[in-house]
């Protein structure tokens, strides 16, 4: 069974194995299983082995950092100096980033070993990882099914034990939803908690990086490495980063957990509701104080989110123009041809759809009806949460309305795909931290529960998840083919 980051750290510290040994193991597992799962776009074998050797030297000198020697993977949206950073797009297929994202730099400094770059929906636009230029990713629990998206490669890699942990980004659920669908633990921090510098932007006011791992305790370690102020990101928060691991062992007795009635209404698969009820019972047994709350504007979060995300994306993606980097069409006859064909050839269907909608929403005559309206609703959605947090410490609900669906099942209907994000996207609009952790299975596919905390209260999310994981073992399950 694949090890947790916590176990790897212990094993490395105790000299039970070296980083080079386990890195080679992971690389071998990737070589064996990636053809089936397709969760890696690039495998950086030489770099990984080199970093592992350096990590072993550091360990030997007693100078180990938090994650020294731990083999991880980065979503292929974090820029990696000297390594192709494709963002799942043809337009960046030839883009070797000339610098490191802050997150990548921080992992490098702490001594983590990078195994490679994981597959994703193109420019993080998707909920199934079917929108990648590099092909879809298979769900390790059932390879005919999607792993979720957009960070599907990272979630699948961790679930199948092809990396001890992985980074992801979450604009509308892109960490939590694939974590739920692949049966791993993932956290989207508060907006501003993790630097966005070097994270290729989708929706700048929504995007936030975070980790996938096999437990809440592992997530605490990874988030510790990622979080913190960065002078290169104007939206980065100067709020102090607590020691996330230190508070894990605190119990949940007396913790007030609210269940939004809108999250348990029509649309949620009743079998998932049953799994979630069982998890709620566990938390109640641990002493949590469970009550019902209301987030009345939940239904509006989808249109609100898509207007804002697409508007921001349409502008963010203008820099991909075939002039300074990335794909350029052959023999452009003039400047307009260069722009239109380079972008037309470089972007996939879903990205084009979103650029078009976003462009439309911002254009003269529609700005007030769409963008401004969405920003007003955004405040109303945020206010709903603020009101809820007056009476509860945490909010709990499903991460997704259903378990992983079959590859191709929703590709013809973008709107039905967008509805997958109903429980996750309102957090991004509000900028709140959220987490998904495994709570059971339906049809042999994992079910995730989502925890939502107030701003910068990631410690409470991790602690609650960890306490639940002390009395459950859903997070430790591995699909048979990969155990």
């Amino acid at each position: 069974m694949p090890m947790t980051v916590t176990e790897i750290r212990q094993g490395l510290a105790a000299g039970e194995f070296s980083s080079s040994e386990i890195t080679r193991d992971y690389l071998a597992r990737i070589a064996q299983h990636n053809p089936t799962l397709n969760c890696f776009i690039s495998v950086t074998e030489a770099l990984a082995l080199d970093q592992a050797r350096q990590a072993d030297a550091r360990l030997a000198q007693g100078k180990a950092g938090l994650l020294t020697g731990v083999p991880i993977a980065h979503k292929d949206l974090f820029c990696t100096d000297g390594v192709r950073t494709s963002c799942g797009s043809r337009i960046l297929d030839n883009f070797v980033a000339p610098y490191d994202a802050t997150v990548v730099e921080r992992f490098r400094q702490t001594g983590a070993v990078m195994l490679g770059k994981t597959n994703m929906d193109e420019f993080a636009m998707g909920s199934s990882n079917e929108n990648s230029h590099y092909g879809n990713v298979a769900n390790p629990w059932k390879t005919t099914h999607v792993p979720g998206g957009s960070s599907g490669g990272s979630a699948a890699a961790v679930a199948a034990g092809l990396a001890a942990a992985a980074t992801g980004t979450d604009t509308g659920g892109s960490i939590r939803q694939p974590a739920a669908l692949c049966g791993v633990t993932g956290i989207k921090p508060t907006y501003g908690r993790v630097s966005r510098y070097g994270m290729i932007a989708f929706g700048s006011s929504l995007d936030q990086g975070g980790p996938f791992a096999r437990s809440a305790a592992d997530c605490a370690l990874l988030l510790q490495a990622m979080a913190g102020f960065d002078g290169r990101d104007s939206t980065s928060s100067e709020t102090d980063v607590p020691d996330y691991s230190a508070s894990l062992e605190q119990g949940v007795e007396g913790l007030r957990i609210g269940l939004p009635k809108e999250y348990f209404a029509e649309g949620l698969d009743s079998r998932l509701a049953g799994v979630i009820d069982t998890a709620i019972d566990e938390l109640r047994k641990l002493g949590a104080d469970i009550s019902e709350i209301s987030l009345p504007n939940t239904g509006l979060s989808i249109p609100t989110y898509y207007v804002i995300a697409m508007a921001e994306a349409s502008s963010n993606l203008s820099r991909f123009d075939g002039v300074r980097f990335g794909h350029r069409c052959a023999n452009p006859v003039d400047l307009e041809d260069l722009y239109k064909r380079s972008r037309g050839e470089g972007f996939g269907e879903e990205v084009k759809r979103r650029i078009l909608i976003g462009t439309y929403a911002l254009s003269a005559g529609y700005y007030d009806a769409y963008y401004l309206k969405a920003q007003q609703l955004r405040r109303m959605i945020k206010d709903d949460f603020q009101k809820a947090f007056d009476s509860v410490d945490l909010i709990l609900g499903p991460t997704t309305p259903e378990v992983a669906f079959a590859i191709g099942a929703k590709t013809d209907d973008p709107v039905s795909m967008y509805l997958q994000d109903i429980y996750t996207i309102s957090l991004n609009l509000a900028g709140l931290p959220g987490m998904s952790l495994p709570a059971g299975f339906v049809d042999g596919l994992p079910v995730g529960i989502q925890l939502i905390a107030n701003y910068f209260d990631e410690a409470r999310l991790l602690q609650t998840a960890h306490q639940y994981q002390q009395v459950s073992d859903w997070h430790l399950q591995t699909p048979e083919a990969f155990s």
Binding site: N94, V96, P98, Y191, G192, S205, G231, S234, T235, S237, E238, G299, L300, I302, P303, Y306, V307, S314, S318, D321, V323, R324, F325, G326, R328, V333, D334, L335, L338, Y339, K340, R343, G344, E345, K352, R353, I355, L356, I357, T359, Y360, S363, A369, Y370, L372, K373, A374, Q375, Q376, L377, R378, R379, M380, K382, P414, V415, L429, G431, L432, Y455
Partner: protein, 95 residues
């Protein structure tokens, strides 16, 4: 809200996106159905609500006026599609 083929073409031009003629109809359908979803926003009266552009109620941090970046032209232009004499090249721009 439904769009017409010409709307899609003019938006695509604004976004400098080439769209094949035979896929215009599909975009018309897809974009129209997304706009129908988006139009749900109008069910709510939000008059008087202050727009929220950024989730954090924070102010812009200001940077000291210092030169911290050196010349990395060689590295940056190594990934460029067409450069000469240190310049990025594009089809002739007529002004």
């Amino acid at each position: 809200m439904t769009l017409k083929a010409d709307d899609v073409r003019s938006i695509a031009h604004l976004a400098r996106l080439h769209i094949d003629d035979d896929s215009v109809d599909r975009y018309v359908d897809d974009l129209s159905s997304i706009l129908t979803l988006v139009d749900q926003m109008n069910q709510i009266d939000s008059s008087g609500v202050k727009p929220l552009a950024n989730p954090l109620d924070a102010s812009q941090r200001l940077r000291a006026d210092e030169v911290t970046e050196g010349d990395q032209r060689e590295k940056f232009q190594a990934i460029a599609p067409d450069v000469a004499d240190g310049l990025y090249r594009v089809p002739r721009v007529i002004e």
